[in-house]
């Protein structure tokens, strides 16, 4: 067995205790759970280009505190089925299908990045199904290009549009590029520059498959950063003030490529009554990966306070 075929371990990382499948409008979603099957359930959503394996350190901390952590790979991500089409609406439907598989009672919603925005949508659409909310650096608030001139922005948008269409033309038969564990870790490191090589190598072993010619990330190769569409970040933020359950937001203040650059001042005016924001300096977008113990403790404190009726 070559070094590449060996399981890479990471301190504190634990694979889920159970795996199951949920069919959402015909697409098979990989759902996984950490913790006792009889424990109190919560719903945990990952971000774009991530997968449930990125919770392998964070989720066990919640599970060990008495929670049944239910998470899923979004369509086209991780071990969930690839689809012909991807949109926000289909991701919301998939999230609702996973929620339905837990049961009809309200549960805590926790989401990171795009997953945070996703469960924010879900909490607005199904307010009777959420008991409390935690958003981990998933509150988009501003245009990514707000500091470029109009002319420059128009040029960039047009470039995005044509390069996206060129990408669509090139998709038939496309596969992800194979490589060694180190090569895939290095590639992902460009999107996750604050992550250690040790962690990135671990992610390869849970988020990629090993074919004869090397490792390939499982994510659908049709997915790509920098698409185009009418969506504006503030539309997501406007779903925050109306949340009617206890809310905790956690922001990482270090700006990085996958983050939104949202500042506390962007969030505070939009907090729902009684909502709380924790801004962590020296921490990037992946707050739960950089500081799992600290963030898990914040989350557990919020969940306990909700359960005790201390938050209204």
């Amino acid at each position: 067995m070559s070094v590449d075929e060996q399981q890479v371990s990471y301190p504190g990382a634990r694979r889920p205790d159970r795996h199951r499948e949920v069919i959402s409008s015909g697409i098979a979603l990989h759902v996984c759970e950490w913790g006792d099957a009889d424990a109190r359930p919560l719903l945990l959503a990952h971000g774009g280009f991530d997968f449930t394996g990125t919770f392998d350190v964070f989720a066990p901390m919640l599970a060990d505190a008495g929670w049944r952590v239910v998470s899923w790979d979004q369509r086209g991500h991780g071990d969930s089925e690839r689809a012909a089409l991807y949109t926000w609406d289909s991701d919301v439907r998939d999230a609702a299908a996973v929620l339905d598989s837990i049961g009809p009672d309200p549960v805590p919603f926790i989401g990171h990045s795009k997953g945070g925005a996703l469960v924010l949508h879900l909490a607005n659409a199904l307010p009777h199904r959420v008991s409390t909310m935690v958003n981990l650096d998933g509150l988009p608030s501003r245009e990514a290009m707000s500091d470029v001139s109009d002319t420059e922005r128009t040029r960039l948008l047009h470039q995005q549009l044509t390069s996206w269409l060129d990408h669509r033309r090139s998709l038939v038969g496309r596969r992800r590029r194979p490589g060694t564990i180190d090569e895939l870790a290095e590639r992902r490191g460009r999107m996750n520059p604050r992550m250690s090589l040790e962690w990135l190598r671990y992610l390869v072993t849970v988020g990629a498959t090993c074919d004869e010619d090397g490792w390939r990330w499982k994510i659908d190769p049709t997915m790509r950063m920098g698409g185009f569409g009418p969506w504006r970040p503030e539309w997501s933020m406007l779903r925050l003030p109306g949340i009617g359950v206890p809310f905790l937001g956690v922001l990482g203040l270090e700006i990085e490529v996958m983050g939104w650059g949202t500042r506390p001042d962007d969030v505070v005016p939009n907090l729902p009554p009684g909502g709380r924001l924790e801004a962590l300096s020296g921490v990037g977008h992946f707050v739960h990966i950089e500081q799992p113990r600290r963030v898990a403790d914040l989350v557990l404190e919020h969940l306990d306070a909700t359960a005790a009726g201390a938050l209204r």
Partner: protein, 222 residues
């Protein structure tokens, strides 16, 4: 009887219908590509309103007509622009005659490929309005309980509620105006004017009038 060829867009097979070849008397003229509205499909024969001497083709969008009906929904206007782009890759320069949802798609396609879209007539039809300029209250976008299609019930649900902000449409009009050498690269024939289309029509350098006049205008364009 129309001739059908199938084009690949990622996992989807798109039906491209040739409704009519070129009129031999007309010499060499540019093809016209029909884009249907939401829930429609390419018609069996060239519609009466279309007076065009060149070849006439029609594209069935993903989930419509004879094109693949994908599993699990997930439609966006942007993805359908990729459908049109697949047809442009095969047909080369065309004039677009687009109804309803197809008119919105035609705007985006003309912006992306101004050298291949030699004029687009934007006409009334199903799916012209979309979901307005803002997203509505967040809901679960389930499809209507209807037969499995085509048209795909997910397409009917998702493409009748997608936000189409006026300034978003304006950005694309400006791409068209900058990228195209035509005097009037877009022609608004629709009577119904949702915000996005009113914004298009308000830009300088946009033609307005009947479908017939629009097609006649583009006939004279080389």
């Amino acid at each position: 009887m129309s001739e059908v060829t199938y084009l690949r867009h990622n996992l989807v097979e798109l039906a491209l219908h040739r409704l009519r070849g070129a009129d031999p008397a007309a010499g060499e003229s540019r093809p016209l590509l029909l884009l249907h509205g939401l829930g429609e499909r390419t018609p069996d024969v060239v519609p009466g309103v279309v007076d065009w001497p060149g070849p006439v083709h029609g594209l069935d969008f993903t989930g419509h007509g004879s094109s693949t009906l994908p599993v699990g929904g997930g439609y966006s206007a942007e993805i359908l622009v990729g459908d049109v782009d697949a047809a442009l890759a095969v047909l080369g320069p065309v004039t677009l005659m687009a109804r309803g949802l197809g008119a919105y798609i035609a705007l985006l396609a003309a912006a992306a490929r101004p050298e291949l879209v030699r004029g687009a007539v934007l006409a009334d039809g199903p799916g012209l309005v979309g979901g307005g300029v803002h997203p509505g209250s967040p809901t679960l976008p389930y499809p209507p309980a209807s037969p499995p299609g085509p048209p795909d019930p997910f397409a009917l649900a998702e493409l009748s509620r997608d936000p189409r902000p006026a300034d978003y449409a304006q950005t694309f009009v400006r791409f068209v105006l900058e990228g195209s050498d035509l005097e009037l690269p877009l022609w608004v024939a629709a009577v119904v004017r949702p915000e996005w289309l009113a914004a298009v029509a308000a830009e300088p350098g946009i033609g307005e009038g009947s479908i017939e006049d629009g097609l006649a205008h583009y006939l004279d364009v080389t």
